[in-house]
Point group: C2
Chain length 408, copies 2
């Protein structure tokens, strides 16, 4: 084992079970590094040794074997495109080859930035420390103008949200242009702060061509944006890292998992969600990571992933690893009656994210947000929602609408 | 049907067969655009109409239904990240939902650059019009120094190659640094040109962080690089488009398909290769598109895709569509005996790409390249290789080594 003295990346794969797996793995470890280890002169061997891939371990399984291969740092530059191309560029073409984890030596690890703010920094900005945060999603903005947008924002603020985000499919458009959304929101958020003392973050969707992102983000900040939404998997994790590493941009970034289903959600192949939406999203600098909750109802068009996948994402976003923690934002199908379950599954240092669960409230979005806040406060104090509903009409009405999920 | 008067993108999907597919498709078409088409006032309906997604057609199949959904341009900006997020950001999470094609209205289409040079421009640069081109891959450079690199290049030139590329897993490194590879190769290529009058392109691997690519490409050009290799799927297609749209960079780009197996090669989900490695690689500006050949032997670690997939990629790279044609570069497992089959399957306006098929020649790489050139010349003239081998010792030896694939 070369890990002791060589620096590098260890990739963990699931390969379809084969009796001669060690031979296959060895072939890949060589093929993806120095190519061949035969017909090489003694002197060259010495030189090539520090570039040679190594099979670290093979754990046999019933349908898949867990294979770890170590790739020396000497072979890659310290960026994910190089690392991905090395460890999975070719292997991605092999049926049923999954890449489930990457481990970096301390030196490589230290070349990732991690979140600029993270959960801690976001809490400091909002001055909220003792409960999960409430985040809303603008709804039905497409085709509507800025007055519609403003009215929604006013309602959400009145209901007591902490953050609000654009729908990830709202791009540059004539009715609610990117820069206008920022300045319009800023005015409303500033007024709200003056009135209530509560700061609220608005994650505006940073979009457009890759080459324009940095400049747009800088301009957004100048205009008073206080948070960015970014469809990271439409650009690649390294594009998020570029934003994080641009010292002109001092804004928290909500990494949205749209499109990651292609990369991680396919039966039997691809990345693990844990690696892509969890560990690496944190390493490259996501302050919040938004991913499908395990509660969605597919028949209603909700996206959803398994509880195991969601928990693994949450774990890698928040476990101690020397970087700031990234806020978990499990999304889709969230209503107030679900909050105790959400906290049980993800802990209480998280962001409760809702769209339909706020706007679908029978008494409208103000009550919708209030119902969530009441549900959050009750859950933190371990008060059953049905009891809390006695002192919160919005929560009572929400529970009538959606019911209360029993904590399992 | 709104296509008559509305501009936009039509996405073709395969959804798992369902009896109520039209209801499901309609739900998605709304969910991914204006959200809902009920409880909307008459006046708003007028306004929202031009943002509303439409189910264009549903073709029932045995296991999958082919569903076409139209998304108005009003909803997206003219860039692939916005388009992908809209048409597949959420749907990628649904099991078995494949995105197999995108069609753009003329206005959106005209906002893509297409190849700067394309097959035609590459042929003009090389002054070779009457045969497929021969492209080599440097072999085993990792861990070796510039003298090793130079010696390989000299051999390949002596053998008569037209292009040569870095291995896609060769990144910035101490032994053969990016800029040094360029200047070293330039000197050798210039000398070769003076001596023989033959220009040869060397595709150097443009790698590193997304934010550094443009500057590195510009500097590469200044130093005399004449072609770039780019692992487009490690960065996203839009990053390739950014390079193409940078008017400071006047170099042909070889788009490498590494990692596209994650996006397109998974059983039952993801993109089609045809769309990703074919149509879109051409639209964003790839001059050559390198993808797995259908001839690879997986047991030898070759990557491979089906003949149908490879043919579909080739078709979308080369069919008339107003853009320059992108050269097809089917790769892996190519040896001289395969050339007639290759031309039969892909036509003769293509690039024959070989690594092991050149370096594995029993008499070394010079003979390896010569064997390919002989095989190409014979194939173009419909002379059987066994006959051509009578006048080419390198080809004769190659056929002894690898055999001759019967054209089927």
């Amino acid at each position: 084992m070369q890990e002791g003295f060589l620096m590098g990346v260890t990739a963990t794969y699931l390969f379809p079970t084969k009796p001669n797996q060690s031979e296959i793995a060895e072939q890949h470890a060589l093929g993806l590094t120095i190519g061949s280890w035969t017909d090489i002169h003694h002197l060259e061997m010495e030189q090539l040794k520090k570039h040679k891939g190594e099979v670290v371990s093979i754990e046999k399984g019933e349908t898949k074997d867990k294979v770890k291969i170590f790739y020396p740092s000497a072979n890659v530059s310290a960026d994910l495109p190089a690392i991905f191309t090395t460890v999975y560029g070719k292997l991605s073409f092999f049926e049923g080859y999954e890449l489930i984890d990457l481990e970096f030596d301390q030196d490589l690890l230290s070349q990732f930035p991690g979140p600029r703010f993270g959960a801690k920094g976001i809490r400091e900005q909002l001055n909220v420390y003792d409960r999960p945060l409430l985040k809303a999603i603008f709804k039905g903005i497409m085709g509507r103008d800025l007055s519609f947008f403003s009215a929604q924002l006013e309602d959400l603020l009145a209901g007591g949200i902490d953050l609000v985000k654009d729908d990830e499919i709202l791009f540059e458009n004539e009715l609610t242009p990117f820069y206008k959304r920022i300045t319009t929101a800023k005015e409303i958020l500033d007024r709200h702060y003056e009135k209530t003392g509560n700061k609220v973050l608005y994650a505006v969707n940073l979009s457009g061509k890759t080459s324009t992102l940095s400049e747009k983000a800088e301009r957004a900040q100048e205009l008073g944006a206080n948070c960015l939404l970014f469809n990271v998997h439409a650009y690649g994790l390294d594009a998020l890292q570029s934003l994080r590493e641009n010292h002109q941009i001092n804004l928290p970034i909500v990494a949205h998992s749209a499109l990651s289903g292609v990369l991680a959600g396919q039966a039997g192949g691809g990345f693990s969600y844990e690696l892509l939406v969890g560990k690496l999203t944190r390493l490259v600098g996501g302050d919040l990571s938004l991913f499908p909750s395990p509660y969605g109802d597919k028949s209603k068009g909700n996206v959803t992933i398994s509880k195991e996948e969601a928990s693994a994402i949450n774990r890698t976003l928040t476990e101690e690893n020397g970087f700031e923690k990234t806020f978990s934002v499990p999304s889709a199908g969230i209503h107030p009656g679900l909050v105790p379950q959400l906290l049980k599954d993800f802990g209480d240092n998280l962001v409760v994210n809702a769209g339909g669960g706020i706007f679908g409230h029978p008494d409208g979005p103000i009550s919708g947000a209030q119902a969530f806040r009441a549900a959050i406060d009750a859950s933190v104090q371990h008060i059953p929602l049905s009891e809390a509903a006695n002192t919160s009409e919005p929560l009572k009405r929400a529970l009538e609408q959606w019911g209360e999920m029993t904590v399992s």
